[in-house]
Point group: C2
């Protein structure tokens, strides 16, 4: 039995407003969650640097982020352990320097292959995104886009 169009129901709650990024511009939060893509960037950084520990990766991760979201350190550590479970990275403790021990990760061959797969997926996605942005901008009107 089809319900009244007025009775909307509660099966899908409203997404919260972004309480973090101030609202100076549309951010991923307001759009729904796009906070992710830590994995490919972590893999890339490990390939580029040879090896690194989590805390070190967190510092540079932001510069290579695929969205405008901030990096969640907890998420990064969990991503690294997950990559280890999948066999894409290996780790060993480094206690040589001062300060607490560091778990130093490096890519395995399977990790390199995984990054290659990620790259293919993201390349396609980038193309699909830019095609969408082109179409949508056309429909919205270029002038309107430029004037905010």
């Amino acid at each position: 039995m089809q319900t009244e169009p007025e009775g909307i129901g509660t099966y899908h709650r409203l997404r919260g407003q972004c309480r973090r990024h101030g609202g100076d511009r549309p951010c991923t939060c307001a759009m729904g969650n796009l906070y992710r893509f830590i994995e490919p960037v972590a893999l890339y950084l490990l390939l580029a640097k040879g090896s690194a520990h989590g805390y070190e990766l967190a510092a540079v991760l932001q510069d290579h982020q695929l969205t405008d979201a901030e990096v969640d350190r907890g998420g990064l550590y969990r991503t690294l352990r997950s990559l280890e479970q999948m066999g894409h990275v290996g780790s060993q403790w480094d206690v040589s320097g001062g300060g607490p021990a560091r778990r130093v990760y490096s890519l395995t061959p399977s990790g390199v292959a995984h990054l290659r797969e990620w790259t293919e997926v993201l390349a396609r996605m980038s193309e699909q995104l830019s095609a969408f942005v082109r179409d949508a901008s056309g429909e919205l009107g270029e002038a309107g886009l430029r004037n905010g």
Copy 2:
């Protein structure tokens, strides 16, 4: 107390392999969930077509998808109701044609603004993605990428 590097724990389970897309190429499933982005495409289609009902949108949504994932019809209907709750679309029943009644959606001014915001977010994201793909491809080696 820092645990042994061997003891990985179970707080982050392995993601399942993709059981849907056959494995002929790396798909979003294998990478983790990128099934989403229904919302901006639905908004765009409503702008382009003027108005449409869900079943109709589902048919063309695939062509404009932002990832290579298949569209989930349940997700589409929930997205439309959610957009209605947020005031970005309005709906009314159409019982004029044959077959079951159709809930016909159209954009509100706020929906147009929301699509504009989405477009800005996705434009940035597309740029960040393509920069990442460029960097990662460089690090992986172009030859390796071409040869699979």
